[in-house]
Symmetry: C2
Subunit: 139 residues, 2 copies
């Protein structure tokens, strides 16, 4: 087995400001037109008082960290779990992050803690991902 | 507490054929440009031999079932876990589904088994979601 170049504690992140376009585009890609995410009048009458981001939109940003930063290209997602702890609003600046929790020695498999935090440092989502690591040489 | 109008065994699904545009659009929304999903030449040299769908793209289709069908509008995603068991290729026809596993009696919370299956009946992904249920009356 090729050595897996990761070790516990290694961390990567990506930051972005949530826009109305993000919610609209995620609704289009997913088909999730739950009015909580796409209908301002409906959302006004919910406990949140405004549209909030789809949970799996935050999940998609975690996917970006895993697929482009850590482990990065070569990562194949085997599992992902997320708990959504707070609403994410348009205008929030969100940091999606991943941190290596464990690396198997018998197979090229990396377990990472993952999550998203807002600009107040509040945890929006957190969970775990497991990636297989199989990069293409010289690609 | 308002009665929660769901019971174990209830099921809903959405079906769609995976297109190149789905992978491109999900890469755009998420920022996950892992070449396994967006670079045909790279993907050719992987064990899959071609681009495969992002795991969280399947997750987003599960989100659509939860947000539009079961529980539907009024659902607020509290957690979601998915294991990815097989690759999903462009041209596959994927059924994303959710089935009520449990309904709490003390709080309006529904636990669902969720997953995606391809046109051969093979399981692509499976897991669990927990939704809070708080619809807006007359919205």
């Amino acid at each position: 087995m090729r050595p897996v170049p990761f070790s516990p504690g290694q961390r990567a992140e990506l930051r972005r400001t949530v826009t109305e376009a993000d919610l609209v585009n995620f609704a289009g890609v997913s088909g999730d037109y739950n009015p909580l995410h796409t209908d301002a009048l409906y959302a006004q009458r919910t406990r949140f008082g405004q549209r909030i981001a789809h949970g799996l939109l935050l999940g998609s940003w975690v996917s970006a960290v895993l697929g482009t930063r850590l482990p990065g290209p070569g990562a194949i997602l085997m599992s992902c779990s997320l708990r959504f702890l707070r609403p994410t609003r348009i205008g929030d600046t969100v940091t999606a992050w991943a941190e290596v929790a464990a690396v198997r020695t018998d197979r090229p498999v990396v377990t990472l803690r993952v999550g998203c935090t807002n600009h107040h440092g509040e945890v929006l989502a957190e969970g775990e991902a497991v990636c297989y690591w199989e990069p293409v040489e010289g690609a």
